[in-house]
Symmetry: C2
Subunit: 719 residues, 2 copies
Amino acid sequence: MLPGIFWIVPAAGVITIIFAIFLARNVLKRPTGTPKMKEIGDIIFQGAWAFLKRQYSTIAMYSVAIAVIIGVLVGVLGGTEVELSALDIGWRTGVSFLVGAFCSGLAGFIGMYIAVKSNVRCAAAAQKNLTEAVNVALRGGAVSGFLITALSLIGVTVIFFAYGGNNNPDIAPHLIVGFGFGASFVALFAQLGGGIYTKAADVGADLVGKVESGIPEDDPRNPAVIADLVGDNVGDCAGRGADLFESTAAENIGAMILGIAAYLATDNIAWILFPLCVRGFGMFASMIGIFFVRAKENENAMNALNRGYFVAIGLSVIGLAFTVYYMLDNWWLFGAGVVGIVASVVIIFITQYYTEARYKPVQEIAEASKTGPATNIIMGMSVGFATTFATALVIGVALLAAYALGEQSGVPGAGAFGTAVATMGMLMTCPYVLSMDTFGPITDNANGINEMAGAGPEIRRITDRLDAVGNTTKALTKGYAMVSAGLAAFLLFQAYLDRVSFIKFGETGLYTIVDIARIEVFVGALLAAMIVYLFSAWAIKAVGKTASKIIEEVRRQFREDPEILNPKDPAHPHVPDYGKAVDITTRAGLREMIAPGLLPVLGPVVIGVVFRYLPGGYDAAMVVAAVLMVGTIAGIMLASFMNNGGGAWDNAKKMIEDGQLKDDKGNVLGKNSLAHQAAVVGDTVGDPLKDTAGPSLHVLVKLLATITLVMCPLFIAKG
Amino acid sequence: MLPGIFWIVPAAGVITIIFAIFLARNVLKRPTGTPKMKEIGDIIFQGAWAFLKRQYSTIAMYSVAIAVIIGVLVGVLGGTEVELSALDIGWRTGVSFLVGAFCSGLAGFIGMYIAVKSNVRCAAAAQKNLTEAVNVALRGGAVSGFLITALSLIGVTVIFFAYGGNNNPDIAPHLIVGFGFGASFVALFAQLGGGIYTKAADVGADLVGKVESGIPEDDPRNPAVIADLVGDNVGDCAGRGADLFESTAAENIGAMILGIAAYLATDNIAWILFPLCVRGFGMFASMIGIFFVRAKENENAMNALNRGYFVAIGLSVIGLAFTVYYMLDNWWLFGAGVVGIVASVVIIFITQYYTEARYKPVQEIAEASKTGPATNIIMGMSVGFATTFATALVIGVALLAAYALGEQSGVPGAGAFGTAVATMGMLMTCPYVLSMDTFGPITDNANGINEMAGAGPEIRRITDRLDAVGNTTKALTKGYAMVSAGLAAFLLFQAYLDRVSFIKFGETGLYTIVDIARIEVFVGALLAAMIVYLFSAWAIKAVGKTASKIIEEVRRQFREDPEILNPKDPAHPHVPDYGKAVDITTRAGLREMIAPGLLPVLGPVVIGVVFRYLPGGYDAAMVVAAVLMVGTIAGIMLASFMNNGGGAWDNAKKMIEDGQLKDDKGNVLGKNSLAHQAAVVGDTVGDPLKDTAGPSLHVLVKLLATITLVMCPLFIAKG
């Protein structure tokens, strides 16, 4: 018997899709500005689309291969856990992997389609006023944000019931873990490929354009400028979308697995369905929040976005209370959910502290730029490292509090279920946060289009301001994704242990200890930390290699046709070959994503299998648990350094460009000063950290969780 | 009854000291070259001496305070473990802390005294020939290397017997843990203070001198040049000396604690004294190795050093076999010791691969310099991250192998004792490695003195080559120190668990599990990783801040007296104010070492005490165990990135200076090319990583072990 409140799930799914269609139509019917603007918008669209098609063809190929491998491995080595045969479980896992992968890909495609159509309309709206421009950017972003979360909710729900969730709610969650793995698999490649593309293009465009040739950002004379604008879409927009699609899906499934214990004790399916219903309420809360965003002409657009966010937060708390009351009737768990919501708000303030020019960290980096690029980078690295303090503290305190509240609740599963509720609470506002995130690349593109189309200074001032706001929202989303990964970690560990216990002993709760004082477990933990670094090394190197290629290409074009930079007839300047730069980036980006992408997929599996078959009586399942746990710690710490450090470098540069840095005598050290050049180097170094490796690390952390969940039959020696 | 073979310990101690005195006299009686050279040497000596005196005054003050605090805390909260009262244990721990701290300080002082006296003599010897110069540098370095290890061996032995080791060999090792803590406490501050000093001076001198003003390294016109030369001594020489003094002491004590179990089972004290005897043999092996170093005039001096090293390695294996045969009579444990020795050789090759210009990683960084400082740094970061792969693999495989061999041995303590034997095996050649390490700053200084004294190109070529060899030996020592920290980690964990068990239950072996799946243990692990990052952040920032001050000072001197750079009368150039730069660096370096130094001392204690008193039934001792274990992993991984990345950046710059980088058309991109400038930025960024934060992290890892060992009574709730 489904609980009455379950209507919220299909209702939220359907209404959200209608809402997204309404927004999409609203955005698409708007004017696209001057022919010049439309032309630029179309070029960006084509570049982005071409990349996405080729990227997802590659990913699809790998996905099918992985689905077959999973199916076969689990079919051969799994079994014994439930009434179903190993073969049944195998094909179901493989299919749910493919469905997860497909949904993730679909979400990325649709979201990016609208985002790339919104940018030129946002640029055009800026010619009217700020309010309109904000509306277009946020609505365009919301299409992406809401569609992604709706697809994740619908996908998990459908596959849960398709796999017998109604009759065997205690077994179905185990069968759908493949969905989460599929989603994270696609997310990792989407984030990596997009991240490599965007930053290689950005680094290439900036270094030769801004530093060597002294032309402004987004100047149409720069051959890499279109690739740079395309990159914002494929990296920030498609990548983060896939990341959070994955988060909501995998954490939802993990929470359902944790609910099984309480279901078995009470025979009430509400424990398993609770995560789905809470997210339904979160959708509505976020939707209403969007309606509350009305930017006033003379205010900081960030304030308008924050108003909407706090409405969404407030409504989420109410929705949470309502769901807890009807489904669980346990107010300790409401407390745990509130812990998650509070953590999401706190991390946003902390991210602002570390990455905004009005606070000390960014100012110190700007100050250090006076003595050149080396001191700028040393200081930025220091700031980035220091941010781990706040990240670890927020995650640590939230975990302890949610766990303690969960234990007080007295439900079976206790503490870990508390952290699951906290995670679900945090993810309630995910659609809203994702909308704000996609706001970033849209305004960034709009600003670029206006620059390239030669819009007047008044219009540029509007999109410039929006672009800065977009940088902030992008940084906030990364903080949000990072903390959600940390908060979810514990529920995913528990899900893994439950599943190992289930496979090994036929019931959960018998395999609970991960003893890092065992030699093989310690070594596994060490290797996990190493995988995180090696992954980052490869991801960063991919950007460096690709960027070098673009830099050479831009230099070549400038060298072979000096009239690109200095036209003899300014009315008819020579146009650089944008397509060549786009093509180089696309090819390199796709080639370079393969190795780092496969590392975290194969790493834990190889470690687990090797320890299973090594002589010495090692507990391979425990080794993999340590890989998961310490890999999570290492990944979150390194991501905190990269995301926040990168954001701080970026804004230190912006602060100098805004004329806020002065020398001893009070003279402004602005654009093209030595300090500015140093800050540009810092920003460039930060780029692959904050937009390629860092965000990919969130996905990696969650991929570790889903892959170990799916593959755990492989690590358990047959008794 | 002491085993007969124990004579090796006093013999090794006494003979080593005689050997060191002989070497010191041999070096000191050599000529100091021209008056100009002597003058420069004296200035460096005074600067280094002044810094060291002030540094150790500060450290002494803190040490006494900490000794009192430890004594009181352990006296009040400890107890119940043995016949001794809590008060007895308290004051003994405090006293052994002070003795350890004093010995460490003494070792640093003497070693540096000789090193700073050797540099000018090495410079003078280079005027004769290469062989002589190598002799002076290696012998000067060996004074430091052998005295340090002898003091550590004698110190541990004396305090062991002073605390009743002869009558109660099962209790004494527990009482002398304070010695290890004292040593690591001083080591941390010595390494940090020296590291901040050396890199701030280096960064400052390079940035204004080489990059802004285009004058060569070590040019006498640079006001920061003396501070830079002083820094090589106080950072590389005193710092690393304290580091390895600490390693040998703490790991020796940990190994003795692990031997207690076997002693209790067999009533044979050999199990406890084994680590001391093995080190005695290591001393002799290293001593003989030194005699085998005879550089031929036309060979790479590194080959000569390697010959001596392999002699020392070979003799160590023989000494190990001998000791195992007489004391333990268990060939599985010989195997474990060989694992440690092999690991020390392997890591040296790996370090060379990552940091030498003849291999791909450094070449890739040099290549990336062509497109500017940003791509140089991105690539260097990628190389640094990637080095964690080899580090983790060597440590992981060595731990598993040594543990498995230990288990095969069947002795009580089994696997963990195997890792202890491996660690002792690795540390046998410590005196030799330390001599090679101190070779580095001596040749670096000799090169600088020759440059400043205007020696001819022929002489400079000799010291230049030695300087390059010194860079390599410094990098190797860091790799050695890092892997020894990793290998020792497991024995130190086990010692901690044994001690907790002893305090909690009155006997060892009852407290063995560190369950990271417990919420508080996981959060502790997360916080430990954070401490490692935060420590690095503060250490790096200290360098950045201090360097900024020096840069301003150098710029001021150049601005206020243009004749420093461009003298009107070249025969009588204006001499810059070296003393001012030395003074600025000294004051800043000492001020900045306090905060990062106290963090890892207070961090684990605060975490342990908070969890002990928090409601919720947390197991604080287990939390601290996780802090220790995951802190170790995080520290080693980050140190691997910093040490190797920094070394690679350094040598990429050197490679370009050597004219080994060419553009597409085959033109050499040498000194002062854009690529070179970019590489200088990378080198500068790498400096605080590889010489301040990185080496301090090894010490931090071992400090975590000693502080938790000493403080563990605080974390155990009274039953």
